[in-house]
Amino acid sequence: MKQVFIIASKEFKAAFKDRVFLVITALFLLLSIISVYIGSSTKNAEIKAYLDIVALLKAQGATSFPVSPQLFPLAILQNIIDYVSIIGAVLAVFLGFDAFSGERENGTLKLLLVRPLYRDQLVTGKLLGGGLVIGVLLCVTLVFNTLLFSIVSGLTPTFNELSRLLVFITLAFVYMMIFYIVTLFVSIKTGDRTFGFLTMMVVWVFVSFVIPQLADSQRSFAYALNATAQTVTQMPSDTVISKGIEMFSPAVQFQNVGKDLLQVVSETAAMNVFDILSRQVLSLFYMLVPGAIFLLASYRAVQKEDVT
């Protein structure tokens, strides 16, 4: 176990020494902060505008008022779902793409493997190190944004909201780790780190954009004819094919669950965390499966590796 920690701590330190990684981390933080700040202040403006109108109507002697706009505080953080699923995934790729191929090109892989260290410990160490980096990053994001949100909006999160946030961060962690694991696998399998990196970029484009897009094109559009309003509206609805295509994209699954957790979907905004998780158990399953497969594959591939 000691060996694992030695490797993990080296990975952790190395990540924060890497300027490219730091740039993209900064980008990630900056985005989430901007989005929370703007989200909070527009919500404030919205509430204020509503109160103004009510006051005005009262002054005019009106008795019925427009319904208060539905405000779910966590929805302010909703852009973070996109950032994690897009930038977060790239971050994991940047973190892991040379984890093995880099060691191999450097010749340090040989130096590692002639030491009293099991090969699976090496993989575990790398995973732990990457996990630590991702974990720290997400925690910083969470704490920072929760604080910012409280300061700007003047709201304190309730227990339900806090638990949702925690579960969301855990989920984001798992999602990013899945990308890290797949990247690690590619890194073990490919000799050339540039090739590995680009392969992962292609995977990323597919998971985050192409598959959702394809699924979207397979939604059936019910044409609702409204004779009274004389309109024909398109109503997208999931079909078996669109669902089936989406199964292959952890990004879509992550977004599904994330939206529920961060109160983006009004139907589930009031539920408690466990109800949401049990509602989305299938999405969670689809998300975890590729991670598990590649995790096992990584351990196997390292055992088989011939170092020359």
């Binding site: 109108i53 897009i86 790239v90 094109s217 004779a227």
Partner: protein
């Protein structure tokens, strides 16, 4: 034979031997076929649906029929905007990076530059070769689209539609050219080839995702939709009051979006393909005339980057390092 052309031809043959390039190109073409086929099919279904609805309304004695929903045949390649936006850009960045880095890694850059070749000629040759390649890709994709829409969608393309489609592929070509030049410029300016590639990809993320995302986040459409004012029955005074608060955001948001060639590409393409409503009645050239700023926003950064690459390459002394 001219030195530029010799280098250009070498670029083309090199790319056609590059495994990753071929894989991505294959994916791009397959996706083009899939998206166009699905799009064409959807157009057909939508058309049938609409015709049925109209028939029904007519039979009910309605005289004011709903307008034709947005199901123009050329929007069949709507998905293609996204695929080119993603995979095409990735492909262009890889080729741009490889164009310089491969010569440096194999040490052949020294061999070329110690010959009777100007440094800018070398860059020109690289650019020419790769542009030819991307022009070929665009043409291929265009051909696939034209054939599929005709064969599956069962709709004949009018001359105007065909012209719009052609212009759209021209825009796609320009978009890929931008990322090609971005890849070359970074490879020239940054000594380490790997780092240059990473930086190119980060730049791509910033231009294609982060800027539009910030634009979206800051867009009041999302936060204070028009529906909000309406549902509140706000007076115009109140409206302007609220809006003034956002004037700064609005300017900032706008400038951020203007910096992203992706946004410009999207705007022109969506207008050309009638994905965005409001351009149906314009001729293709009118659309370009209305959107000329976006065409400029798409090409100007390419030219600027290219000039920077020129200047950078001329001055580089550590070009001999690996």
């Amino acid at each position: 034979m001219n030195a530029t052309w010799i280098i250009a031809r070498k670029e083309i043959t090199d790319a056609l031997k590059n495994k990753l390039f071929l894989i991505i190109l294959g994916m791009l073409l397959i996706l083009t076929v899939v998206s166009v086929v699905l799009g064409a099919y959807q157009v057909r279904v939508a058309l049938d649906n609409y015709t049925n609805a109209i028939e029904f309304l007519k039979s009910l004695g309605k005289t004011e029929l709903p307008p034709m929903p947005n199901l123009n045949p050329i929007s069949a390649s709507k998905g293609f905007v996204n695929y080119i936006g993603m995979l095409g850009a990735l492909l262009a960045m890889i080729l741009g990076n490889y164009a310089i880095v491969k010569e440096r890694r194999s040490g052949t850059l020294k061999l070329i530059l110690s010959r009777k070749v100007f440094r800018d000629t070398l860059l020109n040759g690289k650019l020419l070769g790769n542009l030819t390649l991307f022009a070929g890709i665009s043409l291929l994709a265009a051909a696939i689209t034209f054939i599929s829409v005709g064969a599956i969608g069962n709709v004949a393309l009018s001359a105007g539609d065909a012209a719009r489609m052609g212009l759209f592929f021209l825009m796609s070509f320009l978009y890929m050219a931008f990322f090609l030049v971005l890849g070359i410029t970074f490879a020239v300016m940054v000594g380490n080839g790997n780092k240059a590639l990473l930086l190119t990809v980060i730049m791509w993320l910033v231009l294609a995702f982060v800027f539009p995302q910030i634009g979206n986040t800051m867009d009041m459409d999302n936060q204070l939709p028009g529906g909000f004012f309406a549902s509140m029955g706000m007076t115009k005074d109140q409206q302007t009051k609220v809006l003034v608060n956002f004037k700064f955001y609005e300017t900032l948001r706008d400038s951020i979006e203007e910096m992203s060639p992706t946004k410009h590409y999207e705007r022109v393409s969506f207008a050309l393909l009638n994905v965005k409503p409001g351009f149906e009645k314009n001729t293709p050239m009118e659309v370009l005339g209305l959107k000329w700023i976006n065409v400029l926003g798409l090409t100007a950064p390419t030219i600027i980057l290219w000039l920077i690459a020129y200047m950078g390459f001329l001055r580089r002394e550590d070009i001999y390092q690996t």
